[in-house]
């Protein structure tokens, strides 16, 4: 059974028709990549899941665990969706620069009441990204881009999501840092968090993900396993720079 299912979602932003009937599924435990050019609607797809934008037509269904019942979250408020176990790490990091590193992590756990588990999750995030502990009293605005990305991922993990939505974690980072971040994503996934990843870096996305979707101008045009897509002629031309 699928963890997340988007059924024929149509989304307008202002007057612009952005998602023209998007359907996709994410299964429990997977890493799924969503790739496509700028303006294809990848970010909108994520914010439709997390409740920041609303579909005019279509449904978003979520099942936190394989044995729970499926819930319709199409109209749920963003804060309710976080509570159900979906955490959205937004594009361009968007850490709170007025808050220090520790506060950024704590605010990720805003809805949680289990103080002791929050402390142990802070330890866990700091094991994944040790630099965050060293910088914990610094204002997040003073971190480097890579550190901010780690903080943004750490913050998203602090709500203990079942499903993590990641919007372009490689954006503007040095290749070496991207490697590190992708390794961490693999670890996070191995520890039980399902990941839906939006990426421009198609090659890395296909390597990491079990399955992937390709988006073009508001529609899903291709889907398959990472390997299949990496070998697909059209994908190779459009996204992997093959000639």
């Amino acid at each position: 059974m699928d963890m997340l299912e988007i059924r024929d979602s149509h989304v307008y932003i202002g007057q612009t028709y952005v998602l023209k009937g998007v359907s996709l599924e994410v299964r429990h435990g997977e890493i799924v990549a969503l790739i496509g050019a700028n303006g294809a609607g990848k970010t909108t797809t994520l914010s439709t899941i997390s409740g920041l934008t609303r579909s005019r037509r279509g449904k978003v269904l979520f099942r936190p665990d394989p044995d729970t019942t499926q819930r319709d979250i199409t109209k749920a408020p963003a804060e309710g969706i976080v509570k159900m176990g979906i955490s959205h790490c937004p594009e361009g990091r968007q850490v709170f620069s007025d808050l220090n590193v520790w506060e950024n992590l704590l605010i990720g756990a805003y809805l949680r009441k289990d103080k002791q588990a929050i402390q142990s999750d802070l330890q866990w995030v700091c094991e994944l990204f040790p630099i965050l502990r060293d910088r914990r009293r610094q204002s997040a605005g003073n971190l480097s881009g890579g550190e901010q990305m780690m903080l943004a991922i750490g913050r998203a993990l602090m709500s203990r999501p079942r499903l993590l939505l990641l919007d372009e974690p490689s954006l503007g980072l040095a290749p070496l840092l991207v490697e590190i971040i992708f390794e961490m994503l693999e670890q996070i996934n191995a520890q039980g968090t399902t990941i839906l990843l939006v990426e421009q870096n198609a090659l890395m996305a296909f390597e990491l993900a079990q399955r992937a979707y390709v988006m073009e101008t508001g529609r899903i045009t291709l889907s398959g396993t990472g390997k299949e897509l990496a070998e697909n002629e059209a994908v190779r031309k459009a996204y992997l720079g093959a000639t």
Binding site: S50, L52, E79, S97
Partner: protein, 297 residues
């Protein structure tokens, strides 16, 4: 002469304290939803009349009145936010600005309708009128009360914003509304809280305004509203410490301008205020403590 200057500085402190209580709410509301709330000054007026009502109605002690007026102002702020500003959420900034002007006119005229435009004497119990002499400086008990109350309230506010979970949520919401929602913060609650605290402080400022000047009328909110706006902009609108700093600078500046120059210049007091504002904005467009980059401007 030294005594004279000391006296003026004390007067500036008193004036700055009152401005600060109004400016804090102004800057909080702007910080969180980028709304320039021109109705904020009218909460000062409502606070003043609430105080008068409570003083006339019975023997309630002043500390209790402070709490009641704070709550009354807060409720008024919540009411205005729910009725007028929430439906405008997401509309262009100028819509909110015009809405706030409309609310301001509505409150002033409602005041005139219900209370008449006739200024009323503000009762102040005798013990608050006692004059103390500290060396060359003399001040009334109420002046002391104004400064102490304002400082205590500001300390509470800073502690709340810096060190509590709620304060963290407010700072996060002020910085980025959408990402705050992704953290699970109910931004409607946070915005309401900013209105409640800001308006509560403005209500208390109204109480002080009445006590200081002795007369109140339904249009009295205009001046504190405008001065708080200037103070908030000088300090860097959106920044709470900035609003405090701006208010005290404005208070000292006004008093010293009037106190140190020959009396014929004293009617240029407000001209001085706005010239200072323009000069500061020319050098520091974001105010003294404002953020360097304002993305949502």
């Amino acid at each position: 002469m030294d005594g004279y200057i000391a006296q003026q500085l004390v007067n500036g402190l008193i004036l700055g304290s009152m401005y600060a209580l109004v400016a804090i709410g102004f800057t909080m509301i702007y910080g969180i939803i980028r709304l320039i709330n021109f109705a904020h000054g009218d909460i000062v007026m409502i606070g003043a009349f609430m105080t008068l009502g409570l003083v006339i109605s019975g023997k309630i002690s002043f500390p209790v009145i402070i709490i009641l007026v704070f709550i009354g102002g807060a409720l008024m702020g919540i009411l205005i936010e729910r009725a007028a500003f929430r439906p405008m959420r997401g509309a262009p900034q100028v819509t909110g600005f015009i809405t706030s002007l409309a609310i301001s006119i509505l409150l002033q005229n409602l005041g005139i309708l219900l209370l008449t435009a006739q200024p009323r004497n503000f009762f102040c119990p005798d013990y608050l009128q006692t004059i103390y002499h500290l060396g060359p400086v003399s001040l009334r008990a109420i002046d002391l009360g104004i400064v102490v109350t304002a400082v205590v309230l500001m300390i509470f506010l800073v502690l709340l914003v810096r060190f509590t979970r709620l304060g963290m949520a407010m700072r996060a919401t002020a910085e980025n509304l959408n990402v705050a929602r992704l953290m699970g913060i109910n931004i409607n609650h946070t915005i309401m809280l900013a209105f409640a605290i800001g308006s509560g402080l403005a209500g208390v400022a109204g109480m002080m305004w009445g006590g200081k000047y002795g007369q109140i009328d339904p249009l009295l909110g205009f001046v504190p509203g405008l001065k708080a706006f200037v103070a908030a902009v000088i300090g860097g609108v959106g920044s709470i410490p900035g609003a405090m700093l701006g208010s005290y600078l404005l208070g000292f500046g006004e008093v010293l301008f009037v106190g140190l120059l020959p009396p014929i210049y004293s009617s240029y007091r407000d001209a001085f205020v706005f010239t200072t504002l323009i000069l500061i904005l020319l050098v520091l467009p974001n105010g003294l403590l404002g953020r360097k980059t304002e993305l949502k401007a």
